[in-house]
Subunit: 376 residues, 2 copies
């Protein structure tokens, strides 16, 4: 019988002051502030500052932070050339992971783990990730790249570089909220990956590169594509009930519902739902929103009593679709946001670092002698 704590469930692996989750009550706080308040009143820039400094910025600090962001949001010609040399058919998560790793090569001192330098490097990665993703995406669509506009927020800039035109206010706001909602979430698998990597006193490029790799998995960030795929499978709002009931009968998973942590309504989904509705209406995608809403109604009627509710992925799908993202850019958007949380956790890990090296239980044979090949 194995004594391993499978999945490390129930094991407390680190201390944090970043996010607090009460899955039973449906609470998520960043540094004590309810996620819904941040979603309604804050910006992604401010949230990044909050996660890295454990307090909201004063006016002059936010201005300074925004200046730094502007200065870091363009990628070098060499980076553009590298992206242009990637196969167009490649999946964007693999491209993003590769190019974030590559950014280390353009840094003459990539290895410093001093907190202020880690922050500076992480800010550079965070700011360049939108240009990486959009340069890759526009090229594969046969379009010229669009350079960042220094007057725009991170959210608006991304949409500008993606679509070649400035977003509407609702688009910018909805996307900004998505970035806020995905910024941090306890010791999820990618954040934990990052903590293990930086615990060797490796660097922030290795940390974020590794975390992107973990996020790609279908049991983690990769799941957010599934919601859109499901919605595309349902022809119209009238077909939702039969579709969901059939799935439930076959015990198939309904994408975007349930969460290992939340047994109540995912607090990230509340405000996003309102925004998704508005955005869908603005962009002529009300059908998509109506389908989503109907899925939620049926699910609530059928399994609501079991604590299975929509999670943050569910209304992210409508939002991402409405702002013009192709399906395989959904997970990169998650990565773009989570770079902030990964960095916050890396900074915390470095504060009181101890190499993360668990034990394994060995279940194999002992004292086997080496049999020469002719006698095997």
């Amino acid at each position: 019988m194995s004594t391993a704590a499978k999945g490390l469930e129930g094991v407390i692996a680190a201390d944090t002051e970043l996010s607090f989750i009460d899955g039973e009550k449906g609470v998520l706080e960043y540094v004590g502030i309810a996620i819904d308040e941040l979603a309604r009143h804050s910006s992604f820039e401010e949230t990044v500052f909050l996660l890295w400094n454990k307090r909201l910025p004063k006016k002059n600090e936010l201005d300074e932070f925004r200046t730094l962001i502007r200065k870091n949001s363009e990628i070098s010609d060499a980076t553009v050339a590298q992206i242009n040399a990637l196969p167009k058919t490649a999946q964007p998560m693999h491209a993003l992971r590769t190019m974030v790793s590559y950014l280390a090569l353009e840094d003459s001192e990539p290895n410093s783990v001093k907190p202020d330098e880690v922050q500076r490097k992480a800010l550079s990665i965070l700011c360049k990730a939108p240009a990486i993703v959009t340069t890759f995406d526009r090229r594969r669509r046969g379009l010229e790249r669009v350079s960042p506009d220094p007057d725009l927020s991170i959210a608006a800039n991304f949409l500008y570089m993606l679509n070649g035109k400035k977003p509407t206010e609702t688009m910018e706001r909805a996307f900004d909220v998505c970035l806020i909602l995905h910024a941090d979430h306890g010791l999820n698998a990618s954040t934990f990956t990052g903590r293990v990597i930086i615990s060797t006193l490796s660097d922030i490029y290795s940390t974020i590169t590794g975390a992107i790799g973990a996020l790609r998995g279908p049991l983690h960030g990769g799941a957010n594509e599934g919601v859109m795929t499901m919605l595309n499978e349902i022809p119209s709002v009238d077909d939702v009930e039969k579709y969901v009931l059939d799935k439930l009968k076959r015990k198939d998973k309904i994408m975007g519902f349930g969460h290992r942590v939340y047994k109540a309504y995912d607090p990230r989904a509340t405000y996003l739902k309102t925004l998704a509705k508005q955005l869908a209406s603005d962009t002529g995608n009300s059908d998509l929103y109506e389908k989503s809403h109907r899925v939620e109604e049926i699910m609530d009627r059928e399994v609501g009593s079991k604590g299975i509710y929509p999670n943050v992925d569910f209304y992210s799908a409508t939002t991402y679709h409405c702002i013009g993202l192709q399906l395989d850019l959904f997970t990169p958007m998650f990565a773009l946001s989570r770079i902030s949380g990964w960095t916050g956790h890396a900074l915390e890990q470095l504060e009181t670092n101890r190499l993360i090296r668990p034990g394994a239980e060995y279940n194999g044979p002992h004292g086997v002698s080496y049999t020469p090949i002719e006698k095997r």
Copy 2:
């Protein structure tokens, strides 16, 4: 008071049948076979097969495996072009991490986690890593790249591509033994990183890329450079005693001594020491070996009773130097070997997968309200 298991020390995070370590007794076995037996009688190719199949190969299986290795050891023209576009001043570990990540982009189906496909992809990565490292290294030295020779072993091929000429038998053997000795070592930080990544059902490229990032850290694989740096600081064998005693007096760390796991002689260091001596003599580096040996004598006299012995890094340094490796290629060599162990663990994780998601203890404030920026 934190309840976190810092560094996860004492936590059993997984089952394994790959390597068994008894740190008190100085035992390391791969699938039950003592590391010293493998070092003396096996080859790296055979060890890779052992770790991926949990048994030694029969003659025809090893032949087949070697054929596959030969077929996979050249990198594409596009990969060469990417490497040639990297800054020459970049550190090889960052270059290796980036290029392993890049290999996913040349794979039309990078995401499969079926065991046989994971093995096939991992073998391709393992075989291409030597060409990546040597192409990068020769370019920065202003030398033409050397294509792999299909008749050579992985060890010999690496040295051929590095130095542009075939290695002597002792060089090949010593390097092959280094590769065997570094192949697997329980749930070290990079292997654990890989397990966390693949536990999201992400892919083997993400897994190995993330693990390389963790290995780079000075508390993990990055430590092996330190031994050589130390040996270079000691002018001659006559200066060793004073150097070591001074360091001990200042409570400085002597690089290459002690190990979080081993409290006895590192079983990987025994045979390597013999080979290092021979190799040093063959290559006119006996001084280097003599300095190392003298460091060991002084350390044994001074702190041997405390269970502080040379670890695998210690005589690896002499070996790597004698085969022609620059200092910053020491850790990439460790990575090259450990790809085999990372893959073995990824395969094990997939066998009975459960997402690795530990908890964190939240120590921050609660219920903080969002203060508007003008009131901060």
